[in-house]
Symmetry: C2
Subunit: 353 residues, 2 copies
């Protein structure tokens, strides 16, 4: 029953959509009329969701109003016939569905919250938008329980608006923590705290990831952590370069990947590159691990412009990403080319930069 709808979406120039994407939108509409919550349920790039909703609207299956998006009676009937069931969730409320609970180290959590309260605000130019403190702490506890913090040399590459690097340094358990980011404000913020708290073996430094790494970085770390924008160029800059920092004997990488700025087709391409090209093995994919706070510049993003309704500024967490852990087995591949800044942050699937 979805074939006709899929074809119409394809005709509108969006190729990387299949029936499951449309099913998920319909399932989401049984639960919400809010565009942003629908993005959360639908797990697809915002610009694609816009096109799907336009097609569903053309077919009389949904009604787009200023205050939200609704299934029409025809839409409800269609969904029922197609066997679409309402969106349900059984996420563990204790750990917000991560499997690791941030409150398992309360002192660490409290300390981090105190420090993070004065962090610099998000800047659109750098695709910033920080995760919640609960996310950052859960990342560190997850890494620690996988043996990837204590005694390790760790590089945190970009996305330091999340303060993941500073949080790792706070544990005082790593052998070395090097935090690099393009944003001077964040680097200053980190270095201030590193100095003030006397955090040993930690350093923050301004660096633009589009430039190749020097010898100082290549093959020198046990673990890299990053949170790239989802374009292929950014994947290469963040993940590819992250892999290039790993020691010959192998190591570990952590990063977020979302289905809200990237299609499932692109995930497949990324996974193929990870396993086949780079020689990595994926050990964890935890959906909706990373919860992003709403950012000040949201009203000025593609996402906000394509929102269809007047619900421009979400007041709840709608942007989430999966948390990947990979291991690099001996023989993995290092790549360290310069990266063009074309389509670095934004392309046809991205919308939140």
């Amino acid at each position: 029953m979805f074939e006709k709808l899929v074809e119409k979406v394809h005709q509108k120039g969006v190729e990387r959509i299949y029936w499951k994407n449309i099913e998920r939108v319909l399932a989401g509409l049984f639960d919400t009329s809010n565009f942003w919550r629908l993005v959360d349920h639908a797990d697809m790039p915002v610009p694609y969701l816009k096109v799907v909703l336009e097609v569903l609207s053309d077919e009389g299956l949904v009604r787009v109003e200023a205050d939200g998006i609704y299934l029409t009676d025809k839409g409800k009937e269609f969904a029922k016939e197609a066997g679409v069931a309402p969106h349900v969730e059984y996420k563990c409320p204790a750990c917000e569905g991560r499997g690791v609970a941030f409150w398992q180290d309360k002192e660490f959590y409290r300390k981090f919250v105190e420090i993070a309260k004065d962090r610099p605000g998000a800047i659109q130019d750098f695709d910033q938008g920080a995760v919640t403190p609960e996310t950052t702490i859960s990342r560190v506890l997850h890494m620690h329980s996988r043996g990837d913090i204590e005694g390790k040399e760790i590089i945190v590459m970009g996305a330091e608006d999340d303060l993941t690097g500073l949080a790792i340094a706070l544990t005082q358990k790593a052998k070395k923590v090097l935090i690099i980011d393009i944003d001077e404000r964040l680097i200053e913020f980190d270095n201030k705290w590193i100095k003030e708290l006397g955090l040993k073996n930690a350093e923050a430094r301004v660096w633009d990831l589009r430039n190749p790494y020097t010898e100082e970085f290549l093959g020198k770390f046990d673990v890299f952590v990053t949170d790239p924008p989802e374009t292929p160029a950014a994947f290469k800059a963040f993940i590819g370069r992250g892999i290039a920092t790993i020691k010959d004997r192998g190591g570990v990488g952590y990063f977020g990947l979302t289905l809200r700025d990237s299609s499932i087709y692109r995930w497949k391409q990324f996974q193929k590159e990870l396993v086949e090209f780079y020689g990595a093995v994926i050990t964890d994919i935890i959906q909706d691990f990373n919860h992003y706070m709403n950012w000040d510049y949201h009203g000025n993003t593609v996402a906000a412009r394509v929102a269809l309704t007047e619900q421009k500024v979400p007041d709840f967490i709608w942007y989430k990403s999966a948390w990947y852990r990979i291991e690099l087995l001996p023989g993995f591949k290092r790549v360290n080319d310069p990266i063009s800044d074309e389509v670095f942050y934004l392309d046809e699937e991205g919308s939140t930069t």
Copy 2:
């Protein structure tokens, strides 16, 4: 510092080990002297663990006693110098680290426990060993929240000692549930309950997965669920055939994969096949999702014979596996060859059959 140890393990014929495996064994030994808990921490095939322990013992780093395995003073010093940190865990206690909590549908859980109490015992010939009821219920709730139960045509292939198929049928939400297993006792058990409770659209049938599927199975389902032994032949039989049941437009697969009967090198090979050969994309890998109860025939397995210590029968859950979810995008590949029964259940990495 690990290079010499890795080389010695390689010399003993175990190639698929790298430094991280040895690190994990040492980290585990800071936490436990119990062989079975060490298996749980080390995430490596039991026969490989045996060889690693032999090498560590030859080098004077560990001491193997009848009551357990201990780091020697030399071992502790080595571990400290090599930056090995004790194994720690921050698993959410509320959901046992799954991110989905079985108690989120108490009535369902209670009903299932009542039914499962009389299930047939595990048989070694079929590589059986059931997961806990909490695991089975969490699987179903996870599937349901990902939109993969309600209105769907589902095939559950083997491993019905877990009663995952019966649990899905109990929800009464699927369009169709077909349960196949080689073990008549389980099929009878399921059909008895399907009849007694009047579970609509559910059927259990005896089937040997080594035989190719008939037209009745191929391309007819939205979702497959299975829990294969970890040999390449079994992967092909269970996962490959599972994929062959999926409709042209695409669908979803769920299965368990462990690092206790399979090396990280084999995981890489499986992932390559999934993404590159079959055309799947991996959406979830949740470590330690599946908890296996101890099985009656444990004393008679390779694992028990290689245990080194006299701690033959674990009285806690030590065998866990990761829970994978994959999506099949249009254009995925169906394979339906007959499967040889050589190395179907057991090979150099397997030990618990």
